[in-house]
């Protein structure tokens, strides 16, 4: 059929569609150039840069304390973990040992961040496949985490709670109680997520076998986080290169072998359970001690190159610092998970329908500022 049309003398053109930069499913200002044949996707070409702020160039001008707050604006849903990545880089380079208390608090808030990010993703995921109510249920639970952040860190999204050497201030007295309350609340709500969306026959049909990514391709594309793990690529930085207090807790790295959208979806749902378990292991025994160690007012990293990776809600965030021994980094590169994950969109979407593209893009969980750093 196809070849007949191709061989005929009829003049035919590809049908281009501009999805975005303002489009409900592209979660921000991502623009996708689609070539389609009826409903079938023939090619997806992302066009980036609509909100590029050149954070890497700005970092070359800022001091190490100031860099931290810029990372809030990259992947704003894992802002705490991004902050942590920069702080860990600086602390490792200076060979500062931060107090146990700091490590534990960082880990707890990091996991709360992951939970909040996955809750938002779940809500938006449902919306992308057309179930609008999930959005509000996801946000209801995320609001509680945001309240915890606001009370302790002073901000709900761009928290900037980490500084090189520790934390900006100690946790709020209510922190432990609020966190426990939240865990107790969310344990009753997470099964509801499954009942509402996961089990739904329409949802299952929409997700199963859609956007398949094999393990080899996942590794080759550098797909990390739930995207990689949904394909069976064991890429959890928390497991392989534990940082902060993550070496003291036991948790399971969720791995699935199917590599389809449903696998990526279920990895995230499972990760929420694991994150809650990590928080539960730590919340009752936050060690006493200082919340920061004194650093010089002007931090100068020794000459050399430093690399630190952490696991954000989206995957592996790498911070690569080239230092010449001055108070500014000579070159600072963020290896952001969203960037690599987006690059495989064309690979998994070709041959599917427009609805499949939206569904698999939602399971990639793209945050555009993370890509347009």
């Amino acid at each position: 059929m196809d070849t007949n049309i191709a061989n005929s003398n009829l003049k035919s053109e590809d049908y281009f569609i501009n999805m975005g930069p303002q489009h409900p499913a592209t979660h921000g200002v991502l623009r996708l150039l689609l070539t389609i044949d009826g409903e079938i996707i023939k090619k997806v070409e992302p066009d980036l840069g609509y909100i590029h702020r050149s954070i890497e160039k700005m970092c070359e001008r800022d001091s190490y304390q100031q860099i931290v707050h810029l990372t809030d604006r990259m992947d704003y849903l894992s802002s705490h973990i991004n902050n942590e990545a920069v702080c860990l880089t600086v602390e490792n380079a200076l060979e500062i040992e931060v107090p146990e208390r700091v490590k534990v608090i960082r880990t707890i808030i990091g996991e709360l961040t992951r939970l909040a990010s996955h809750q938002l993703w779940w809500g938006v995921m449902g919306m992308d496949v057309g179930a609008l109510t999930t959005y509000f249920y996801g946000f209801r639970d995320r609001e509680l985490i945001n309240d915890i952040f606001e009370e302790t860190c002073g901000a709900r999204l761009t928290m900037n709670y980490n500084i090189p050497g520790g934390l900006m201030f100690d946790i709020h007295p209510n922190f432990v109680k609020r966190t426990k309350d939240f865990i107790a609340h969310f344990k009753t709500k997470l099964p509801e997520y499954d009942r509402l969306l996961t089990g739904n026959v329409i949802f299952q049909k929409r997700m199963k076998g859609v956007g398949i990514l094999t393990k080899e391709d996942a590794i080759s594309f550098g797909a990390t986080g739930p995207v990689g793990r949904g394909s069976g690529f064991s890429c959890d930085v928390r497991k392989h290169h534990p940082y902060s207090a993550l070496d003291k807790v036991t948790f399971k790295e969720t791995l699935r072998t199917e590599g389809d959208s449903l696998a990526r979806y279920e990895v995230r749902i499972q990760e929420m359970w694991e994150s809650m378990s990590i928080i539960e292991q730590l919340i009752d025994n936050i060690p006493e001690g200082d919340f920061k160690v004194a650093t010089n007012a002007v931090i100068k990293l020794p000459k050399g190159e430093f690399y630190q990776k952490v696991e954000t809600a989206r995957g592996e965030l790498g911070v690569y610092v080239v230092s010449t021994g001055t108070k500014n980094p000579y070159r600072l590169k963020f290896r952001s998970p969203g960037f690599s994950n987006l690059s495989l969109l064309n690979h998994i979407a070709v041959g599917g329908k427009i609805g499949d593209l939206v569904a698999s893009m939602a399971t990639l969980d793209i945050v555009v500022p993370d890509i347009d750093r």
């Binding site: 057309g130 329409i202 929409r206």
Partner: protein, 354 residues
């Protein structure tokens, strides 16, 4: 022209007494049209409000509560806003078809309303092929959507329109066949007579198993026919932006929007008439007060409307191929089986009669 308009005998007689026959019947038709238009424009707006309130309650929200007491004037304000908005369009749009499309949709939606018996006397248009008329009218609406999507010269709109064509044509079969199942048991195409038949028990009770199956198929197909979630591929917000009405603004958009809600009301009204006894009260408890029929009719219809809203705010959207799979592989074969079953039941006199 000898159509019986039986809405109120008094006005009919009065009009015919003061005017010659031809003018009087035209005047009566215009009068009734204006009354229907006014009632259903307002009713449509309140359906929108109901949808928004119901959605809010499903979603842990409060819903519109600023304009008027309890937000009751919210959709009125929206309509005023839409009327006062500029009508925009694309440069290369096919202007004639582009402007025509919304009227197709809204006119067919309003026309279908004419044949419903809201209560014994309250029916504009009691034709003996009422059910057939409904099916015919409801299939014209899709032409408006196709025209709108095609003439907008917008790629998203075109995809939406093509989806709409595929979807509506497929699901009309199921709507038609499930209605046919009920016609088998009622033995008439005239809506007022279908209601009369149900004085011995609503058809969903009379026809028991096949009627329940027919009702389920009718609700699914009816939801699809009105392009509502989970079958809202035509609009598919997260895929196509706004689908076929992407390029419409102001009042033309409002026509599409209103038509969607009136269509939803029509599907629910057909369901009420065919399955739940129309304006008949349960067990005849208010038979002595005829005008309460309107209350029962609207009440039953709203319950079905609520069911469709419940679907919408719970389920994810189907994909286009799954939509067709559902119709051609599940609903249609089941429907055909169901007709045979119903025919057997009617033939062997296994219906339940009170």
């Amino acid at each position: 022209m000898n159509i019986t308009l039986s809405i109120t005998k008094n006005i009919h007689n009065w009009l015919f007494s003061i005017m010659p026959e031809g003018i009087a019947s035209i005047a009566e038709m215009v009068l009734i049209a204006v009354v229907y238009l006014a009632i259903f424009a307002v009713a449509g707006l309140y359906l929108v409000l109901l949808e928004r309130k119901v959605a809010a309650w499903f979603q842990l929200r409060i819903g519109p509560n600023r304009v008027g007491y309890w937000g009751l004037l919210q959709t009125m304000a929206d309509a005023l806003k839409l009327v006062s908005k500029e009508l925009t369009g694309t440069v290369k749009a096919d202007k004639f078809l582009y402007n025509l499309a919304p009227y197709f949709v809204i006119v067919t939606a309003l026309m279908a309303l004419a044949v419903f018996p809201f209560t014994q006397e309250f029916q504009a248009f009691d034709i003996n092929i009422g059910v057939l008329f409904l099916l015919a009218i409801s299939s014209i609406g899709v032409i408006g959507i196709l025209l709108g999507g095609w003439s907008s010269n917008n790629k998203f709109a075109l995809i939406g329109a093509m989806r709409s064509g595929v979807q509506t044509i497929s699901y009309e079969l199921s709507v038609g066949l499930s209605i046919l199942t009920m016609v088998l048991i009622s033995g008439s195409l005239q809506l007022s007579e279908i209601v009369e038949v149900q004085k011995n028990g609503w058809l969903i009770v009379q026809g028991h198993i096949p009627a329940v199956i027919a009702f389920m198929i009718f609700m699914i197909a009816g939801t699809a026919e009105t392009n509502r979630a989970p079958f809202d591929l035509v609009e598919a917000e997260s895929e196509l932006g706004a689908g076929f009405h992407t390029e419409y603004s102001g009042m033309k958009f409002a026509y599409f929007f209103l038509a969607e809600f009136i269509n939803m009301f029509i599907i629910a009204a057909i369901g009420t008439t065919l399955f739940f006894g129309g304006w008949l009260s349960p067990f005849g408890i208010t038979e002595s007060i005829p005008w309460l029929g309107v209350f029962w009719f609207v009440g039953k219809t709203l319950i079905l409307v609520f069911l469709m809203m419940w679907f919408r705010w719970t389920f994810p959207r189907l994909r286009i191929d799954q939509l067709l799979t559902l119709e051609w592989k599940y609903l249609l074969p089941l429907n055909l089986l169901n007709i045979v079953l119903m025919a057997l039941i009617v033939w062997l006199n296994l219906t339940i009669q009170f």
